[in-house]
């Protein structure tokens, strides 16, 4: 699905001391499966995810996604990919505070309101939220419920790739395990990339990539 060649992300390009966030990464990723990207803080794992998901433009190299060179496409095309092909779970859930859990899921949807509402409800129910909780705003949901709502939002359009950046960072052990179980299940049909510095949550990963100082070590 992804073919990454000589991918580099360099900060302070115009100074003598260039900083490599990513350095000449070569990588091929399958169409489905749970991929873990692990590394310490500042190793470049988030930068790699942001480059793959079009949120950041790399300095050098190419990323081919399903035959599309995504480093060369227009901003509109990148928006389309993020809207229809990719799903995002961020470290903080970034739920819109004034919207209900259901609306927070629906806000990312591309379909018509009626079908989307049904689908969002089904997703939230599948992720363990009760119907009563659908109408609650994020401030009245627990951390785990918020993260599950964010997962539902990421999955509402059946994306081909789900990018999850530290999805369990703010969760207790039980909730972290539940989130990973959900992602593992989704990875049976789609590609799920999980970025973490906690190796213990990647026990079910199909592939674990380690990244150090912007370079893949495995």
């Amino acid at each position: 699905m992804f073919q990454v060649k000589d991918l580099s992300m360099i900060y302070d390009m115009n100074t003598d001391s260039k900083t490599y966030a990513l350095k000449e990464i070569d990588l091929t990723l399958p169409d489905k499966g749970l991929i873990g990207i692990i590394g310490p803080s500042g190793s470049g794992k988030s930068t790699l995810m942001y480059c793959l998901s079009t949120l950041k433009e790399p300095t050098e190299g190419s990323i081919i996604y399903n035959g599309i060179e995504i480093t060369a496409v227009t901003g509109k095309e990148r928006e389309r990919l993020r809207r229809t092909e990719f799903g995002f779970i961020f470290q903080k859930h970034y739920l819109v505070p004034y919207m209900s859990a259901l609306d927070n899921v629906m806000v990312a949807a591309t379909g018509s309101k009626n079908e989307v509402q049904e689908k969002a409800s089904a997703l939230l129910a599948e992720l363990g939220l009760s119907e009563k909780e659908f109408a609650k705003k994020p401030a009245r949901l627990s951390g785990g419920q918020c993260q599950r709502t964010a997962i539902a939002r990421a999955m509402i359009n059946d994306p081909k790739v789900v990018f999850a950046d530290e999805p369990t960072a703010s969760l207790d052990h039980e909730n972290a395990f539940n989130v990973m179980r959900i992602l593992k299940k989704y990875s049976e049909k789609r590609l799920v990339m999980v970025i973490t510095h906690d190796k213990s949550i990647l026990t079910d990963a199909d592939l674990v990539l380690e990244i150090w100082d912007g370079e893949l070590s495995k």
Binding site: L55, K56, G75, K76, T84, F90, M106, V107, A109
Partner: protein, 384 residues
């Protein structure tokens, strides 16, 4: 699905209530101030624009009649010559089309007080026998009391009676003329005329009183046509005189006051709204970054912002209009009507003008909106 503007409005009604209240109360304030000031224009219109269509006054000096003071040995000779010239002019004017009567009379001044400012109007004094014909010409009718029969008796317009707090049996312009002119009846007309009988000599002056129609409301031109060499020392009070005074002292002055007030309110409101919107947009940066990250374009986000603005301003405009009309009605009932003034509840033109300032403010708000849009990044920028 499109980004919904209504969701923010619906879920933040308490916060937005402050903004909506500020906008709608500002609209109401601008409208109510206009209504109060406009009352002056409306109230002075009968005296300044309608009355001179039926009656004009002229005080002409001897030199304008062509009399040379040096040519007369005594004052009596000069006075006799002046009176002769005046009588000749009266006869000539009477024979002109559009003039129904001309006579020489003392006048008094009647006062009419509005919310802002006051206006004086000439009030002729004449023999009791002349008054019925005069009222006919002025299309005025007695509504209460009786016709003047003796010296120093007045008929006063019922609007002026209410405005000045007069009552039958009371005295007309007591502060100016003392207890000299007693009010014996009220009259109703479209031009707020009052009339009375003389009581000796008053120092408000004597004038040629010309009763006519609109074709002779430019009395200066009529007099010039009659061979009078009008000079600045002559005092001609006609339609042109009042029309100019109305434009300058009422319409222009009030128009300027309304504009100044509107600009001041608008500047304060624009600053308030700008500050509110800047902080409101700052609070939502991570929300906008989220939308950008999950694939919404800047155009989608900007569209949502604009729709939100239109909803907020729309609700404010509707609320403001309702409050304005309620405020206008309250002023009509509590201030305008009891004071014998003239005003309306609805000034559609001005309401439209105020509403157009809302469009202007939406325009101003494009500055912070576009600045905010240009700062939107994807979520990675927020995570830093």
């Amino acid at each position: 699905m499109k980004l919904s503007a209504w969701k923010y409005v619906k879920n933040n009604m308490r916060v937005l209530l402050v903004q909506i209240s500020a906008l709608s109360l500002s609209l109401m304030t601008m409208y109510v101030i206009y209504t109060l000031l406009q009352t002056t224009s409306e109230s002075f219109r009968p005296i300044m624009l309608e009355l001179p269509k039926k009656i004009s006054y002229a005080s002409i000096t001897g030199s304008s009649y062509g009399l040379d003071v040096k040519g007369y040995e005594t004052y009596e000779e000069l006075e006799a010559a002046y009176n002769e010239k005046q009588e000749q002019l009266i006869e000539r004017l009477k024979s002109r089309p559009g003039i129904s009567d001309v006579f020489y009379a003392q006048i008094l001044y009647s006062m009419y007080q509005s919310v802002v400012g006051q206006q004086t109007a000439e009030t002729p004094l004449m023999e009791p026998e002349r008054i019925p014909a005069f009222l006919d010409h002025m299309e005025a009718r007695l509504t209460e009391g009786r016709m003047p029969a003796g010296d120093g008796e007045m008929l006063v317009d019922e609007t002026i009676m209410k405005n000045m707090g007069y009552s039958i049996g009371g005295y007309f312009m007591k502060d100016w003329y003392g207890e000299t002119f007693k009010i014996v009846g009220t009259i109703r007309s479209d031009c707020m005329i009052s009339v009375g009988t003389p009581m000796g000599h008053t120092n408000s002056g004597s004038y040629l009183v010309v009763l006519g129609d609109e074709s002779v409301m430019d009395l200066t031109s009529v007099l010039i046509e009659e061979g009078i060499k009008i000079k600045s020392s002559d005092n001609i009070i006609d339609g042109v005189h009042y029309r100019d005074a109305y434009r300058k002292d009422v319409e222009d002055a009030i128009g300027s006051a309304v504009n100044v007030i509107m600009i001041v309110v608008m500047v304060f409101l624009a600053i308030l709204i700008l500050v509110t919107y800047v902080s409101y947009m700052r609070n939502r940066v991570s929300e906008y970054c989220l939308y950008s990250s999950i694939g919404y374009g800047r155009g989608d986000i900007y569209g949502m912002m604009i729709r939100e603005m239109f909803i907020i301003f729309g609700i404010s405009a509707v609320t403001g209009m309702i409050l304005s009309l309620a405020g206008g009605y309250a002023i009509e009932r509590l201030v305008i009507e009891p004071k014998g003034l003239i005003g309306h509840v609805l000034y559609a033109g001005h309401m439209f003008k105020i509403l157009s300032t809302f469009i202007f403010m939406i325009g101003i708000l494009q500055i912070p909106a576009l600045a905010c849009i240009s700062r939107i990044r994807t979520i990675d920028a927020v995570e830093k």
